[in-house]
Symmetry: C2
Subunit: 334 residues, 2 copies
């Protein structure tokens, strides 16, 4: 594993994006989001995901020149069209606007349709929390998950992000509706490990912890069985209905043709009614209650969502971003 300085990674990715037609500032921002994702330890959606992103630019799924824009507005709510531009840039702009609306109206919402994969959803949660507001956002996806009781992939794993500002470290939940992503299944298989809990069905329809068997059956489990399945359905409906965009069932199930998806960005301002230092104390009290909970395993610890991020971020920023040599070579050759 190489360790490459953050700025060197960002510059390399930005250089590729400029060759693909991105304006310089948009190339820099898009590259920064990829580099920050790896820096924060979400390796599946950072540098390792860049080559596939480039494929979707080259095949026309992502238009590098397209910028998102507002198409309708009422008070605290706006509808935006992503014009099928780079999904992470559109999502960043949509959350930025939701934050402004949230500051002005207490709660703000941007419904972003006709956009593309936002890569790491947690990015937009951290964005809100670092701006001092609560961020709630989700996206629909191509059909990649069988609903509870169904044998074929007709729902999406529709990641949901909920981020809470806290002075001593934001709390950021970033969860897809499948118990394990396909990326996670691949990682377990490559390490030769079984999953810690059932992750899906094998080809015979039995629950299994064998990651390879689930990759073959294409039948991962929704998180919480019927619960994650139902949550995926309503999140999809809301995103598509508020944008008048596509629902999961109307999106291509080919990963590099997945385009025109629908996303929601909400911001809630805990200081809408004035400074609220009590709010920060409440967040601390909840974290303390987890810290003080006896662990099930000796030496264990109950963690809050996102607890490890700041430590991983610091380490990767200091040592350089971990990049597989083959991945890095591929990027340098682009």
């Amino acid at each position: 594993m190489n360790r490459i300085p953050f700025s060197e990674v960002q510059a390399a990715l930005a250089g590729v994006l400029r060759k693909l037609g991105f304006a310089a500032d948009r190339a820099d921002t898009c590259a920064r989001l990829f580099a920050e994702t790896t820096r924060d330890g979400v390796y599946t959606h950072g540098i390792n995901r860049f080559a596939r992103f480039v494929v979707t630019i080259r095949n026309g799924s992502v238009n590098p020149l397209a910028e998102p824009g507002v198409t309708a507005r009422l008070g605290a709510l706006e509808r935006w069209d992503g014009h099928r531009g780079p999904g992470n840039l559109a999502a960043l702009a949509a959350m930025e606007r939701a934050i402004v609306l949230g500051r002005e109206h207490g709660v703000g919402c941007v419904a972003l349709g006709n956009t593309n994969h936002w890569m790491r959803g947690g990015t937009y949660g951290w964005q809100a929390a670092e701006a001092g507001v609560i961020g709630i956002c989700w996206t629909n996806t191509m059909p990649n998950l069988p609903p509870w009781g169904g044998a074929e992939r007709v729902i999406g794993n529709n990641p949901l992000i909920i981020a809470v500002p806290r002075a001593s470290g934001p709390v950021v939940l970033d969860m897809a509706m499948s118990q394990f992503s396909y990326g996670a299944l691949e990682s377990y298989r490559k390490r030769g490990e079984m999953l810690p809990v059932d992750g899906g069905f094998d080809a015979s329809g039995n629950l299994t912890r064998d990651p390879g068997a689930i990759e073959e059956s294409w039948r991962p489990l929704p998180a919480g069985y019927w619960k994650g399945s139902g949550l995926a359905v309503v999140l999809d409906m809301i995103a598509a209905m508020m944008t008048l965009g596509k629902a999961t069932c109307q999106i291509s199930s080919d990963p590099v043709l997945e385009t025109g998806i629908s996303q929601m960005f909400l911001a809630l301002n805990p200081e809408a009614f004035g400074p609220a230092p009590e709010a920060d104390k409440i967040a601390d009290a909840v974290v303390a209650s987890l810290d003080n909970c006896p662990p099930t395993k000796p030496g264990g610890k109950v963690r809050y969502p996102g607890e490890q991020t700041l430590q991983i971020r610091e380490e990767n920023a200091r040592l350089g971003l971990p990049v597989e040599p083959a991945v890095w070579a591929e990027i340098l050759a682009m």
Copy 2:
């Protein structure tokens, strides 16, 4: 099982509430919500829950005279104080106001603190969907669930409701953050059935489908393990921070002393920018994709959240509400 006409149930419950100090109109509404819950098939939180509700009035946890009121306001957001009145009446009023705010500003939010158990959360989802808006609401609860990796109950099962209006039948998700509620565990045990999937840990710390073993260990599983656990944590934080009210760790873990809880009500208007018949078509398309998904079991069917409610509602409205004779006798004697 008796079958009692809806109006007779409502009148009996309202009579008890008036004796306990409720004003006549509030007694009628509170009784209606209990009766509607049983009518809709949520038997754990309807008539069967009424006796425990009465206990919390008699012991002072619930003040029958207290009405909720706004304490702060900014644009689309309001903070309310429930004044520890009847939780279902406060929640109904809070969602009603969120709907008005949502119609005016596109999105509306009421953060309701210092309130009481809202009984069936789905009530407020149906309320929003029947008014033509998307409703999202959640509540925190007393500590009743061990977080993932923890051995003691320090988080709440914090039900989350997401409701989507649809002309041919709203889609209403009503999910607690535990895979099975204590009420569900009791039902399975009384029927002598094992759970369909692992529902918690036994006293030795092994995953089990035995409902009685989980009731004894007090260690039900969060839905989706770490996912439902993390979701419970952030929902609790948001509700407590936005209300400046209590977080789960600050609430009594005695069920009849659980009071002063925190709730969030959000309404999103799919017709904020004008009539949107396309939105209804999108919801129908998602439902059709589930209808058309091959079931895992012959004769099975993939259902959307709340799909069975309208049928159960119609049946119970027609035949009368199913009430256990002992429960009915207890109510008539109050």
